[in-house]
Symmetry: C2
């Protein structure tokens, strides 16, 4: 029996002479000007003590105060020796210094505003083109998936797989950015517009998603000995330039991106019998790649 | 700092005197007649050699030939000493006897029909009530989430988190049921109507979703020594009646279920600032519970 391949997320076929038709072919063929390098101070690099590096792209266009807090916390080495203390199946992994009494670094805004959505002004939106169950419409802006309410002119960053948000208590202004979570299951879109989404894991999510699930309520680890220690969290901009991680994100206003979304909605890979003719916002992840060597 | 709770999937508050308003309160308050016990021969019980039990509910109403194959394979102990050999992050866990030359049990249909959708005739549909990106409409029928195309009168079982499908090769009739996969990420709805969905994991998904990710293409494990051995797979009906697993599923035509879906779309738990006013098909999982003791 041959290995049953199911659907490759990344097609493995070598470049063929024909025009690119699958999502991965379109991404591979996208011209240089369809890519933008992510600024080094918008990359948060988390190294786990037992090995495993998680790289998070921050989203200052959507949650500027929270992102500035996270940058300040990283610069102050806030998370060095912090830990992952919650892993809830089909939901989130959460880390930080839960119940810590350490004073916050001076640059951190203790009660940031509720940056759960923003004005669409200044956003250049590529519409998804298919219905959304949560917002009047959906699309992509500045390289990110967004829910859009054109009646009130607002857009929100959404909770897709791998997206990172700021844990908070019941009051909206209780999340400084010190406790973060990443989605490891079906997109919990009901959290959209209720929490500050601050970025997305662009590399290494498997170091978190494969952790043992916590057995306490909400997936908290029962014993502190189960916590997964974090060695360090730093901004790429604070690492030596040689060898630090660097990534590029596809320009969501580019023709290549429009072709990619269309192909995600109409899969023509050999495996498919009946293309869906639609795609949901979280099933058309914005392409990211390591910055190519010069 | 108090533990940041984020959103409880199951509320922890004790039963209050007020009417149930959160999804979990509604489920807890549902009357006995809103629940149906799953027949024991529709429960597939997989025990991993290193510990961990996964219980799968089969869906004969949607893929009768494939489900009959799976029942025959279980009765023939097909998967005893089989293994999990593929774990692809945000996609699927896959198991079986990949590349095995063992002859199929006589009762197994070697080339089953493409049971990827069915007629809506005989289905009692509760509409989701919110838009779907993949099908003209979405809802629930016979206790399962379905995509619905009322133009051609068909419905398909969908790939939500934890749902189980039959691996196949490129030709549609190449999946016997011997190689199965379960979704461990954002719902890959583009697979709907392209593969036979045969059931869902109703207990123990964390034994599969927390496994190390495979490093080969498509998440296959590189070395056979990485494969995760399966001790046995059996139908609950073939286990001693005392102590075998038993579960109940909520009747998706019941008033309790309608109230539950509405509450999932309009979360009023204390945490929420702005209920979504919508929910997607895979974020309103059909409630399942262990059968209560008499």
């Amino acid at each position: 029996m041959r290995p049953l391949m199911l659907i490759p997320l990344l097609a493995l076929t070598a470049a063929a002479p024909k025009a690119p038709t699958t999502p991965s072919e379109i991404v591979a063929a996208a011209p240089e000007n369809a890519w933008a390098t992510i600024p080094a101070d918008e990359l948060l690099v988390m190294d786990l003590q037992k090995g495993g590096r998680v790289v998070i792209q921050l989203a200052p266009a959507f949650a500027p105060v929270h992102v500035a807090n996270i940058q300040a916390l990283a610069r102050a080495h806030w998370w060095d020796k912090a830990s992952i203390y919650r892993v809830q199946d089909n939901y989130v992994v959460q880390w930080g210094k839960n119940e810590s009494k350490d004073p916050l670094p001076a640059a951190v805004v203790a009660k940031p505003p509720a940056e759960y959505w923003r004005s669409t002004q200044g956003l250049w939106v590529h519409p998804l083109g298919y219905p959304d169950a949560y917002e009047p419409s959906a699309g992509f802006a500045q390289g990110w998936p967004v829910g859009i309410d054109s009646k009130d002119g607002t857009a929100n960053l959404v909770h897709c797989y791998g997206y990172v948000g700021v844990g908070r208590d019941l009051a909206p202004d209780t999340g400084t950015g010190g406790e973060l979570y990443a989605v490891i299951g079906h997109a919990p879109r009901h959290l959209d517009r209720n929490i500050a989404v601050v970025g997305r894991v662009i590399s290494g999510i498997e170091s978190m998603s494969s952790l043992p699930r916590g057995t306490e309520a909400l997936g908290f680890y029962k014993e502190r000995s189960q916590d997964v220690p974090i060695a360090s969290v730093q901004l790429a901009s604070d690492m030596p330039a040689a060898g630090r991680p660097s990534y590029q994100v596809m320009d969501t206003t580019s023709p290549a991106f429009a072709a990619y979304v269309k192909a995600r909605a109409n899969r023509k890979d050999d495996f498919f019998i009946r293309p869906a003719g639609g795609v949901d916002l979280c099933n058309a992840p914005v392409p990211i790649r390591p910055t190519p060597a010069d």
